[in-house]
């Protein structure tokens, strides 16, 4: 990425460049500013927890900056999302282990069954009477449907729809073949359409 294009992109997006002459750092700053909100939404949909989502994005940023900054900028996007998905999985595993451990404690024994899976206690995102605005209601329904998708299908759908990656980039980010990406995406769309049919009529 050239210096002039970085500055132009930064001013367009309202990004304040760091007071450093390091070109890589500046390019990385612009890149991270471009992906951070989308990455946060992806993590938030997967984890259903604001703080955990922020932690996952922050860890992914740190990892990319410290380990892969020297790689060509064209590789940053798939690398970043791959790291992010790993962080999301780590957070989900930690939750499961924490849930089991808490259930094992004697004072939690009575609630062992209900505490085993913390996701069971996540807020119910299915649309209710409180969702007045039609757009908000559809978004809530879409989010709930995305959370019900298998992990790889959700990951694939969000990378393509939200991040706007093509098949090859998505395959690189997910560490699978182009064919797998097409299959995951197609199944995700089918499943979402089946779940959201009533909102689309």
């Amino acid at each position: 990425m050239r210096s002039s294009s970085i500055e132009a992109s930064a001013s367009r997006e309202g990004v304040v460049l760091p007071a450093t002459n390091d070109l890589t750092n500046r390019a990385l700053n612009v890149f991270l500013a471009d992906v951070e909100l989308k990455a946060y939404r992806m993590a938030n949909i997967a984890l259903r927890h604001d703080a955990d989502a922020l932690d996952a994005v922050q860890d992914a940023m740190l990892q990319l900056s410290r380990r892969y900054a020297a790689r060509p900028p064209s590789e940053w996007r798939p690398l970043f999302y791959r790291i992010l998905e790993n962080r999301i999985r780590d957070a989900q595993r930690r939750r499961t282990v924490r849930g089991r451990f808490m259930a094992w404690l004697p004072w939690n024994a009575a609630e062992a069954d209900s505490a085993a899976d913390p996701l069971d206690h996540a807020p119910d995102l299915t649309p209710g009477p409180a969702a007045h605005a039609e757009g908000a209601e559809i978004m809530v329904a879409l989010q709930a449907a995305l959370q019900r998708l298998p992990t790889r299908q959700r990951e694939c759908f969000l990378l393509r729809s939200l991040e706007g990656m093509d098949v090859a980039e998505t395959a690189a980010a997910m560490g699978c073949s182009d064919g797998s990406v097409k299959t995951h995406y197609s199944r995700a769309v089918q499943s979402l359409r089946a779940q959201l049919g009533e909102f689309w009529t």
């Binding site: 760091p18 750092n25 990385l28 700053n29 991270l32 500013a33 951070e36 909100l37 989308k38 946060y40 939404r41 604001d50 922020l54 994005v57 922050q58 940023m61 740190l62 990319l64 900056s65 410290r66 757009g135 559809i138 978004m139 879409l142 989010q143 969000l158 729809s161 939200l162 769309v189 979402l192 359409r193 689309w200």
Partner: protein, 125 residues
């Protein structure tokens, strides 16, 4: 027809998702910007393994291991308390003094007793 419906569905979901990104609140945006800034900070010169994050658990493990050894290891109470080191010192003196060592190895105790009695008699006269 089916393909068009799918394409329309994809367009709508994409628009919804991107709209949800635009509606992320200011506090979260600010925290993300802080996280980005932190990620871009130059690393300190300190090597990774000296980091407190790694030293603290290592120190805790070492302390726990020491405590376990102190609690679990059997205490040797066979020696009387007032004899600790005294016996060893006596052995050392015997080894250093060749005559004394030979004396302890002497089988003829009667001769020793006789010699002692003679020296006492001499002292008495």
């Amino acid at each position: 027809m089916k393909h068009e419906e799918t394409a329309e569905f994809e367009r709508r979901t994409q628009a919804l998702l991107r709209d949800s990104v635009d509606r992320v609140d200011g506090a979260t945006r600010s925290r993300l910007a802080q996280a980005r800034s932190k990620a871009l900070e130059p690393r300190s010169g300190r090597s990774g393994w000296l980091d407190f994050r790694y030293l603290a658990p290592a120190g805790a493990m070492a302390a726990a291991a020491l405590l376990t050894v102190l609690i679990v290891a059997p205490r040797d109470d066979s020696n009387p308390v007032n004899d600790s080191g005294g016996g060893a010192l006596y052995d050392l003196e015997l080894l250093a003094d060749a005559d004394a060592y030979e004396l302890t190895q002497e089988a003829d105790l009667e001769f020793i007793e006789w010699a002692a009695a003679m020296s006492e008699e001499k002292a008495g006269t």
